[in-house]
Symmetry: C2
Subunit: 193 residues, 2 copies
């Protein structure tokens, strides 16, 4: 049996922070809570990370860059708008299932970033949304998608995967592959003419 590699401490800290931010809220989470969650003394935690602001920043920007890379890959592919949206949707669903930190960036905690990071993060989000919107509009123009307000399509699509993080646990009773396939099919059908 291949051995499962233990995630690096830093990754553990980020995952734990993302869960604490969700459960207690960012403001109410202390470095002490975080140290306890990863079984470190507060003093040792500072060897890995200087503040909770730093963790939030890393979580938000890592995820923003992950989605930007996904978008770049999709834009370079010679494929239909439908295939592009499918690839991006699969990225959203897979990310929500595999990485607890992603939900922090997707959802509300990014609001706690300080400037200039807040503006930079918002600008990355706007850019991602705009590129996604252009794919939707191209698909409507080509008749691959039905005519609808592109913002409603876009935000509904982003929102539709939000439950996955709260609810999904592999194998009970659905596998990750089931959820990815069914959720992707659901949204693609909603877009068709």
């Amino acid at each position: 049996m291949p051995q499962i590699r233990k995630p690096e401490k830093k990754e553990q800290i980020k995952e734990a922070a993302a869960r604490l931010f969700r459960d207690k809220g960012y403001s109410a989470t202390s470095m002490r809570d975080l140290a306890e969650a990863v079984s470190l003394k507060a003093s040792s935690l500072y060897n890995h990370i200087s503040s909770k602001e730093e963790i939030l920043r890393e979580i938000c920007f890592e995820n923003a860059h992950r989605f930007r890379s996904g978008m770049e890959e999709v834009e370079q592919a010679q494929s239909t708008a439908m295939a592009k949206v499918e690839a991006l949707l699969r990225l959203h669903v897979r990310t929500a299932m595999e990485d607890a930190t992603s939900v922090t960036a997707f959802n509300d905690e990014w609001r706690h970033l300080n400037e200039p990071f807040l503006s930079e993060f918002k600008s990355l989000r706007r850019d991602y949304e705009q590129r996604f919107r252009l794919i939707l509009l191209a698909g409507m123009e080509e008749g691959e998608f039905r005519q609808m307000d592109p913002n409603i399509a876009l935000y509904t699509l982003f929102s539709s995967v939000r439950w996955v993080y709260d609810w999904f646990q592999p194998g009970r009773p659905l596998t990750a592959a089931n959820v990815e396939d069914e959720l992707t099919a659901f949204i693609l059908q909603a877009l068709r003419p």
Copy 2:
């Protein structure tokens, strides 16, 4: 011009609390924050409400009862599964647009309820979900909906309206009626065979 009726102070307090819980998190919101948000002295706030726990409880149960009433009305109607799901979806979208407190009950803040209220709230949620699931299953059985995992359909449908509260502002550029119609049509198309 008809005068717009000023909402009761209690309603204002609940709306302000719902926004603070979302922005700062429930744990980090103090009665002082809440008093400031509704321009009251902390001492006057206590004439309206005894604790933030009480507000959270009222918000959660009012919304749970609103959705239960909607479900009862829908169940009693002699209509197709498609018409039932449409009526419930419209209730979800309209509620998200009209009432800022609803998002608190929909989303994460209910986790902060104390017992026995937490268990009671979870049981109301489970009951609502189960009744909604039965409508979806009946629709699949009748061939009105395509065959899919009912949980994926259910949670995707609930999640899909979550953006409305964050993003929607009447008339810029979409009206509430536009959003309700388009979002409902989007999800209904996803369910069709």
